[in-house]
Symmetry: C2
Subunit: 422 residues, 2 copies
């Protein structure tokens, strides 16, 4: 046995959050919770440990190879969830008879993905999940995207700093069918096309050939990706295409919600997960410098896959990594302003006055960092000045005698009197 | 291979949180965050997956047998943390040269413990951790307990509904030494005595015998547990006992913090973790109907154990399970009041007015549940009445014509006019 010295680093691919990292994380989490609340979504959660079988029940995608899994002492096969949607489907299925549909639920869930090739990607992240379960109309999609837009606004992201690219898998399915590609090949075609940009077009062609597609259908498949507008799509799909009508209704409703300026139709948006059945979407920073900020879509068949009653559903997954990269890249961005007050004291005799003052301010809800032992003034103000606190109160013998101390704004150096209770 | 049908239950010992469960959980989490904020504790976090070696480095306790552990594809030994303190120690050690001590940090961390005999206990819980690192004086202990008391007040727990029982392991060590028990046996004696109430006194005697203690030292050890007051302890430990002086300073300071009414000296409080070195504490509901609400103490040697510089530290762990049981047991307790507004509409023609109203109220920060499709009035008010929302607005053709709708308080049936923008 060889003994390796204990490392102070987190396990590979996992993140530590120091207080300065938490400033960014809380800015994102608080904005998510705020948007979920104003849009009337209800919170839910489940354990990060899920049954492996549930996670594997959705097939046809890479995720299942990338699951951290293990057995408990009774031989139960468990796993760290790579995404929240199967768990949500399980929880909905368990109460399908009791819930008043549609339900609008949200959670902030840690998810794990074991990627061998990390390319700087982490193996865990937090994901805001918003789902509308039990609503057939596109108002579900627009409601979710408006909430996502509201969260970005709450984080301080300008409306013109990002675009949400929208497609409809049902439209793509109609167009593939018109190109002579039978429905049983569509899932494989979606997954192959979704790899565009990650692998070469030749490699995608090879995947399509392996699926049994001939040269002509492969050429037509690539040609579809040249469609730029809904009107161009209409010439191929026909004016009576149901998938096109859905997209047009979606864009009309998004005008009323006030988010149409951030939406773009993009036939190349497909999404990697097999379970999407209708509208799919992905948000990117406008300059496309970063990976997708969030993504999601309609998955009307997932509950059936795990044994529930057929139920229409729309979901969004919004991770905590890319959005912070985008926010940090905005001009003039810093994590947070200073607030609260530090209280210190010179000698043990002033500890009681300092403690009583801290107690009084805390009862009023103010953030107070009370020094836990006596300090010299220089030592106190040096620490206070480099902290996240806005004000400082230092109590010496004279202050206690006067029954008042000075509260100093550390930036402006302005002082105000604070009465001391003894 | 036998195929078991897919279960909709969470894995054994793990919890699902439906929206009604989240009302309780958010009440607790919000109170924890509020108290941490007003006491000036800074947030930190780390991944629930930790290196197994770090967790096993602390020895002499049962926890390490109860760790969920697994290997990743590179053979790294990983585990789901059973507690947060080793991770905290690792993060502090990694930045020991840069941090301005003392630091006051908090987190709300999910922790796992695989217990074979569950006795209704879950295998995961969330734990609020508050730690003061780098402070030798008992002001660290009192600061943490005052913050814990503030969180209980914020949850709605009356001050007289709980007691915090306090001891000092250093006092027990002094008394054991005076009883002729050498220091190398103290850790084992602490762990044995901590099992009181869980196993019989005869079984504890057997554990002490196995540790090599004779009949007389065992009798004296049990006699120590009869000590009721600090004055009784003084007659045994001597008036100049440093451990007693620490306890007296602790109780004096707690008067100034305004929490002395909830503190009780209890020599039988020991705590199960091996790393505590000084004051230890446990909070219980006053009637002792439930398990401990929170616990913690001073652990001045932990950083050395993992390879860091010696650093004094005090920590508190406060789980989310017992406190909710205690809160639910209080007379007249319910999770939360109703708030926000549900907006519905009768025909597709009123969808735009309903959507614009929802949009305007949401921008103002109000919680709005907008119905995603048309409804009959009866259907709408039936759903709204059984929801968590306080008010309801239902928009019909007449309302749009008038340019105003009625906002109805669902409890009092009072109505106010709301202008509609079209």
């Amino acid at each position: 046995m060889n003994f390796t010295p204990l490392s102070f680093d987190p396990p590979r691919g996992m993140r530590d959050f120091y207080p300065e990292d938490m400033l960014w994380r809380n800015r994102v989490f608080d904005a998510w919770r705020h948007a979920a609340s104003v849009f009337g979504f209800q919170p839910y959660d489940a354990c990060v440990v899920e049954s492996l079988e549930l996670l594997q029940r959705k097939s046809g995608e890479e995720v299942s190879e990338q699951i951290y899994h293990f057995e408990d002492k009774s031989g139960r096969k468990l796993a760290l969830r790579p995404e929240m949607t199967p768990t949500l489907a399980r929880m909905i299925a368990a109460r399908q008879g009791q819930l008043a549909f549609p339900v609008k639920w949200f959670t902030i869930a840690q998810c794990f993905r074991y990627e061998r090739m990390t390319r700087g990607r982490k193996r865990e992240h937090y994901q805001w999940n918003m789902d509308v379960i039990g609503e057939e109309s596109v108002s579900a999609e627009v409601e979710i995207l408006a909430a996502a837009a509201a969260s970005l606004k709450a984080m301080g992201m300008p409306d013109d700093a990002y675009k949400i690219r929208v497609n409809n898998r049902a439209l793509l399915a109609e167009l593939l069918a018109k190109s002579g590609i039978a429905p049983e090949h569509h899932a494989a075609v979606f997954l192959a096309l979704d790899k565009r940009g990650k692998i070469t077009d030749e490699e995608i062609s090879a995947l399509l050939e392996a699926e049994g597609l001939g040269e002509e259908p492969i050429r037509k498949t690539f040609a579809l990706l040249g469609v730029q507008t809904l009107d161009q799509a209409a010439t191929l799909a026909g004016a009576d295409s149901p998938a096109l009508a859905t997209l047009r209704e979606f864009f009309a409703l998004s005008e009323i919600y006030g988010i149409a300026d951030r939406l773009v139709f993009d036939i190349a948006v497909i999404r990697g997960l097999a379970y999407y059945t209708g509208i799919v979407f992905e948000a990117f920073d406008t300059e496309r410098k970063f990976r997708a900020i969030f993504g999601g879509g309609r998955y009307d068949s997932l509950l059936t896959t795990i044994g529930g009653t057929p139920t229409p559903a729309v979901g969004l997954g919004f991770g905590d990594v890319v959005v912070v990269e985008v926010l940090k890249d905005l001009p003039g961005e810093t994590a947070a302003g200073k607030n609260g007050v530090v209280i210190g004291y010179m000698f043990a005799e002033q500890r009681e006055a300092a403690t009583r003052l801290a107690r009084a301010l805390r009862v009023q809800g103010e953030t107070v960092d009370l020094m836990l032992s006596r300090q010299k003034p220089k030592q106190f103000f040096s620490r206070a000045g480099s902290s996240t606190f806005a004000d400082a109160i230092f109590i010496g013998p004279d202050d206690v005698q006067k029954g008042a101390a000075k509260r100093k704004n550390l930036a402006t150096r302005e002082e105000t009197d604070v009465p001391l209770c003894t």
